[in-house]
Each structure stands twice: as structure tokens, then as C-alpha cells.
Assembly symmetry: C4
Homo-oligomer: 212 residues x 4
């Protein structure tokens, strides 16, 4: 099999995403010493649910980003300086994602009628989707950094799926100013959509996954 | 030997567990500037023992989870999107574990007669054991993601050991409402039980370990 | 292809840089509970821009250091204890970089006429550039730790580029006492300069990158 | 070459040590907003030197532990559950090391005549040295987990060097109650001693390093 050049890029990205996803747990605070009786402890845990929700949502988001990153680098086998820089841009935004996520969880829990946090969250997702597209288009343009045996139809299927991203996240961004809940649900559906592999004949998909 | 697809999944999981296990040390606080005389420092260190105990217990728990993860991926050689998602679920719960562990250590140190923390800890362990089972059953169902040369008896031995997990942790969960200390001891014994490899003829076990 | 000895050194360095680059996000604080109305939230975010700028600048700096580290270890294939120690020195300074970066961002935002933070930042960069040179000169001296097939011209091109570093950062250090803004801009241009591969015939460069 | 089983154990250990060494930087605090004028900033930085010293000392300690870990796993090629557990014990103590290091730096800066911190530091080092010995003796006993081609004299040289550890650290522990400075210097010399490879004929050493 063709030698992969992307080993250290993947190892570094895995490291960044692993740290980012695990740091999320620092937001869950142990209760103060004087609220350790069963009753007060339950009340404390009950008040923590927006924090827990933001923890799970951010964890799922970064996890899905990792799945996507893994999928792209099933096909990308070579590197150059531009790819390194585009990958850094992508990591920068993924690492930043927990901040708007926490903001949405907190603002929606307290003021469900306010819009700024949901707009910031969707806006960050628009930039994230654009970054994924930049990296993927740069790598696939004339098969620049793909493996020699990369399946053209599988590559085209991902390109098609990724084209959706920025457009639909822009819609979620617009929704944030009209109906915050609809915007949040739209974002969650999008995350699920990107977790799933693009539609392509089952046989091709398996080949792609076997090459990982 | 058969090409493994699980390289990046293992690297990412190693990263997450390494960060989670190391973040635990952040809970051990250096004493304030005015308690640095030998006498006050010893008193300070003495008061820290529940924190130290929680540190060691969480470290051991995550370490044993890593040993288990490593053992499973000795046999699992292929990946798909469902495995990625089940692995994320597993990591989510492992990363969360230090929170109920710290809670138990603190509540038991101050109020040994209170139950909520021990119940939350055992409850999290039930979910953790279920997640391990889900991942393992999904991967082994009709040898879906196992290596072609995977030893059937060794795989069955792990499946048998894992079946115990949720049931016995449920018992520990019930105990938490009756006798907190018995529940904690039950959980510690379970951790030890899962650290050890499943019972199977010595020859088979060695083969399994050599394949790692 | 020649066996590489540098696998674990690279993995450890990737880990350190991945953690350092991701920890930066801890500086971005979620607003307090009473400033979650849209108006106050926008005002809060507006006041955060020096923090955000320092986050992006530190992220870019560490990212570019990673690109450089990756480039050097495209050529370095063997290890010894001195290389381990020089690499530790390099990592020590890279891990420290976010501190003077945050200092410059904060001091310049509040007192653009003050010099100490900019001088400390440039001074750290001088030491960083010297560390990179030490590691590279030690490894390349009489091809001590290079691969047997290392391209002499590509190695010489990097040596030439790196010679610039300490000298130009010293100029930026001097500038910090005269004109802080000029010093900051000088540092940014230097970062960009080191992100790009050294000038050498296109054919050679590709070979170098393929060997990564 | 013989297949190594220790890949994931090394990756996980690299991750833990990388996180532990990088978390140290969290102890260096950016000054508060009202001390950003050049004069007050210099005064602030000047007061930070015990923190900086502890940072550098802990960084060097963990870095040297990594070099030692790397050296041992040049020879250890196979794994079993006991090795996993002994490695976890080792990591537990390495991760804990920054705590007594910070304690020594702070106590010595404020009360150079007090002994408890220096004793705790030396005591932790005794346990660390014992853990290294346990892991190494377990792995080398009758060549249990060594590679088939492991150089007997190189292995014996490490065993000899490691025997020193617990004994000399015990002396440093005793010194802590008599002369704190002598104890600290003794510990630093020991760290240096363990950073260097054990004495053995130059030819053998190179073979050992080439096998890494």
C-alpha cells in the first residue's frame, strides 16, 4: 500500500481533539462542602442540568468532528504546508466550539427569548463548515493530495455532502434571530447528518472504510 | 498480518483517557501561602486525604477502563460509523467518572450516612458497564468487526465476563441505599474483577495477548 | 525505507504541543450568569477581544512551531540522549509561549505605550529560535542523526533559514523598547516566515515532503 | 524485526506524560489588570520566580522520567496485565510529582528552615524509584517481557543503575530533616544521573538506541 504522509498530522489532530473533548469535563463543578447532605446535593445536581446538557452537546459535536476528520484522512494521503495551515484553522475552530455551546446552553436556560448566543453558535458552525470545505477542496482539487487509488465516486459523495454544510448552517444562523429553539434543533440535526457517512453504494463505502 | 483499521480510533481513545486520568491531579491544590510552616502544612496535608483517596480511586478506575479498552481492541480490527459512535459514548462516560468519584469521596468523608453520591457513582458504573457491553456485542455480533483469526473461545470468555458487569453494578446501586460502605467495597471489587483478564485456558490467553 | 527511531519522541512532542495549543481555550471565560441578556452579552463579548486575539495568536504560534518540528523530523531519523534533552528544552519554551503572548495582548490593549511585555515576548522568541537552532545543528552536524538518504541541499536550506531566526528576533527585541507595535508586527512576520518552507528548488522540496 | 506489543501502552504513557508536563504551565498566572504598567509588571514577574523555578524543575523531572520510560521500553517488547498495572502505578506517581515539587519551591522560598515539603518530595521520589524498579524487574525477570534479541549486558547495566535509585533517594529523604538545601541538590543530581544512559561500552549503547 502507498506510504501515508499524514501520520503526524493525524496524531497531532487526534491529540488536540482528545484534549478539547476532555477539557469539557472541567466545567462540571463538584458542589461546595456545605451542600453534601442528600437533600441539598440533589438540589445542587438538579440546578446543574444546563451545564450537563452543554457538556454532552459539546462532547457530541467534537466527537462528530473527529469522525469527519477521520473520514477525510481516509482519502487524503499526502501533505503540504497549505494543508497544515488549513488543518490548523479547522482545529482552531473545533477547539473554540465549546465556548458558544456553553453560551447557548446558559442563555437558553435563563432567557429562552434571547438570540445572541444561538446566533454566535450557528455563526461558528458556518465558519467550521467552510473550514472543512476549504481543507477538503484543497486536498481533492485535481486529486492534489489524495491517494493514487482514491475512489472518485466516494470522494465526490463527500464533496456533495459538504457543500450542504455552510448553506444549511447559514439558515440556522438566520433562524437564531427568529426562533432560538428551531435554530438549536436545526443545528443538532445537522450534526447528526455529518456524523453519518455520505450516501453511496454500500460496496463503495466499505472499500473506503477498509482503506482507513 | 491483517491490516488494522482501528489505529486512529485507538490513538484518539488513548488521548482522551490520558487527558482524563491526568486532569485528576488538578483537584490536588497547593496550600495557601500562610500555611507553609511545617506544623500547619502537615495539618493541611492531613485534611486533604479524602481528595487524595478520590484521586487514587479515579486514577485506578480510568486506568482499568484503559486496560479493558485495550483488551477489546486486541480483537476488534475493523471500524464503522456505529462503532465510532459507541466508542464516543463509552469515552463520554469514562471522562465523566471522576465527578461521581469525587462526590462519593467527599460525601462519605463528611456524612458517611448519606446515600445520593454512592448511588450516583454506582448508577454511572451501571451505564458504563452497559456501554462496554454495547460496543463489544456490536463488534462481535456475527464477528462483524473482529479480525479474521480472532479466537472464538477468547471472545466468548470476554462476552461472559462482561455480562456480569451491569447486573452486579445494579446490585451495588441497590446497596448504596442500604449500606454505603458495602456499596463502595462492592464497586472496588468489581473494578479489580474487570482489571483481570477473563478466565480461559492459559494457552489461549497468551495468544490473545500476543495479538495485541 | 530506513527504520525511524524518532517515533516516540514525535508522539510525545505531538502530545505536548496538542495539549499546549488546546489549553489556550481555558483563557476564554463564559460570562457570569447576570450578563446573559443580549445587550450585556454583546458588551461582554466586545470587551473580550484582546483575550480572543491572544488566543488566536498563541494558537497560530504553537501551530507554526508544530509545522517546524514536523519539518525537522522529516530529516532527523535517529535519536540519542542529547537530542531528547534539546527537544525537552524546545518543548519547555513552546509550552511557555502563551504566557508572554497573553501578557502582550493585555498590556497593549490597556497601555499601548508600555514596553516590558513586548520585550519579554520577543526575548522568549529569541530563546525559542536559539533552541530550534541548537536541536537542528546538533542533529545535522556531520549528519549525526539524519537519515542516510537525507537531501544535503534541503538540509542546508533549513540551516540557512534558521540562522535568520535569533538575529531578527533580537531586532524585534530591540524594537520593543522603541515602538511596541512595530515589534509585534515584526514578530508576526517572522512567524509567517517560519511557517513557510525554506526556499529551494520545487523538485527537492517535494521529495522532502514525500519523505515525511 | 519482532512485532512489538507495547504500542498502545507507550502511546497512552506518552499521552499521560505529555499532559502532565504541559499542565504545569497552568501554575503561571497572568497578572491582574491593574498591574500592567511596566514598573508594577516587572515587580510582579520578580515575585513569580519560585513559581517559575518549580515549573522548570517539574518540567525537567517529568521529561527525564519520559526519557527513562522510553529507554526501558526499548527493551520491553511484550505486555501482560501485571505490566499494565505496574505501568499505571508508575504513571500515578509521575503525575503526582508536580505537587510536592511546587510545595518545595514555595516552602523553601518563604521558610528555608522548614523540612516537611523537602521530605515529602524526597519520599515521593523514593516511591517513584521503587516503582521504576518494580516494573523493570518484573519485565526482565527470566527475560519475561523482553525482546528475544535484547542485549543481556545492556539490560544488566540498567538494572544496576536502577538499584541505586531507592537507596540514594532515601539518603536525600534523611537529609531533608537535617539540611533542606543539601537534600534538594541531592535530588537534582539524582535526576541528572537518571537522565544519562547507564555506563556500558559505547558500541552496546548504540545498538540499544538503534533498537528503539
Amino acid at each position: 500500500m502507498e506510504e501515508k504522509e499524514t501520520g503526524r498530522l493525524e496524531a497531532f489532530s487526534d491529540g488536540v481533539l482528545a484534549v478539547a473533548i476532555t477539557l469539557l469535563v472541567l466545567n462540571i463543578q463538584v458542589p461546595p462542602r456545605d451542600s453534601l447532605l442528600d437533600g441539598t446535593l440533589l438540589a445542587y445536581l438538579d440546578k446543574q442540568w444546563p451545564t450537563l446538557l452543554a457538556f454532552v452537546a459539546s462532547f457530541a459535536t467534537i466527537g462528530i468532528m473527529w469522525i469527519n476528520h477521520h473520514r477525510l484522512f481516509t482519502y487524503i494521503k499526502r501533505t503540504d504546508t497549505v494543508l497544515f495551515l488549513l488543518n490548523l484553522l479547522l482545529l482552531l475552530i473545533i477547539v473554540f466550539i465549546p465556548f458558544p455551546t456553553a453560551l447557548v446552553a446558559q442563555q437558553y436556560a435563563v432567557h429562552p427569548d434571547q438570540h445572541v448566543a444561538a446566533a454566535l453558535y450557528s455563526g461558528t458552525c458556518v465558519i467550521l463548515a467552510i473550514s472543512f470545505n476549504l481543507l477538503w477542496r484543497y486536498a481533492t482539487y485535481h486529486n492534489r493530495l489524495l491517494g493514487k487509488d482514491a475512489d472518485t465516486r466516494a470522494v465526490a459523495a463527500i464533496s456533495g455532502q459538504y457543500l450542504f454544510g455552510p448553506i444549511v448552517y447559514l439558515i440556522a444562523f438566520g433562524l437564531a434571530w427568529v426562533n432560538v429553539l428551531a435554530s438549536i434543533i436545526c443545528n443538532l440535526l445537522l450534526a447528526l447528518f455529518f456524523a453519518l457517512p455520505p450516501r453511496l453504494p454500500r460496496r463503495l463505502q466499505q472499500e473506503g472504510e477498509e482503506a482507513s
